[in-house]
């Protein structure tokens, strides 16, 4: 579960997290451009999920399959849930919630990789 796609799935959320941190610092909620970027990130994560499931089905050797699928589902759930949670929050707290979500995503991607390699 390593390669360019996984790297993007780790680095892109970290980059967007920096962006959201800036919004927290300048005291603004996420604007339209950040939401668009988050949408693009979500697309990447959905592709990562599909790739993960295909890899899972293609793999013959035993590993923690249930844990693997749950982490993959978690990866695609985090950003939408965070967006829903701050739908009515018009302060910088909304950006801070997005920061937390964007830090959780790479952690979960790394967990997906660890479960895949049997750590």
């Amino acid at each position: 579960m390593t390669g360019p796609l996984a790297t993007v799935a780790i680095m892109l959320p970290l980059l967007l997290a920096c962006w959201a941190v800036v919004l927290v610092v300048v005291n603004r909620p996420p604007g339209r451009s950040l939401w668009v970027a988050l949408g693009a990130l979500e697309l990447v994560l959905v592709v990562f999920l599909v790739w993960g499931v295909v890899s899972l089905l293609a793999r013959a050797t035993d590993f923690a399959r249930l844990e693997f699928v749950l982490y993959l589902l978690g990866v695609v759930a985090v950003v939408p849930v965070a967006g829903w949670w701050v739908r009515e929050e018009k302060s910088r707290a909304a950006a801070a919630v997005i920061v937390v979500a964007l830090l959780v995503v790479p952690i979960m991607v790394v967990r997906v990789q660890q479960v895949w390699s049997g750590v």
């Binding site: 749950l70 978690g74 949670w85 929050e89 707290a93 801070a96 919630v97 937390v100 979500a101 959780v104």
Partner: protein, 132 residues
Amino acid sequence: MSESRVNRGFGRVLIVIYGVFALAATARSFSQIVTRFDEAPVAYTLSAIAALIYIVATVALARGDRTSTRVATVAIAIELAGVLVVGLASLLAPAAFPEASVWSGFGSGYLFIPLVLPLVGLWWLWRSRTPQ
């Protein structure tokens, strides 16, 4: 819920962090208990209790009404006591904790967030309290 400020502003951020811990602790404790409870019953039981407290705190903070705020205060106070007692116990009697629980070593396996979170939670509940 409009009378409450607990689940607004910074409260939203706090609840998200509690939610992440509730989910992570629940998933972890579920897999520990299902797959290998015999290896470390004390640590795994504590993990399950910690998970439960995180769930209660998350839901109570998110609801944010007067009763829920009391529930949240109690849950977070228990959480603080738990992380302190378990943290100390894991240092004094490491044999009982062959595998880490969320709270062992004062949450050192989780960047000490489990130690800081209840303090921040209690501070927030105190700050956003409604005048009697």
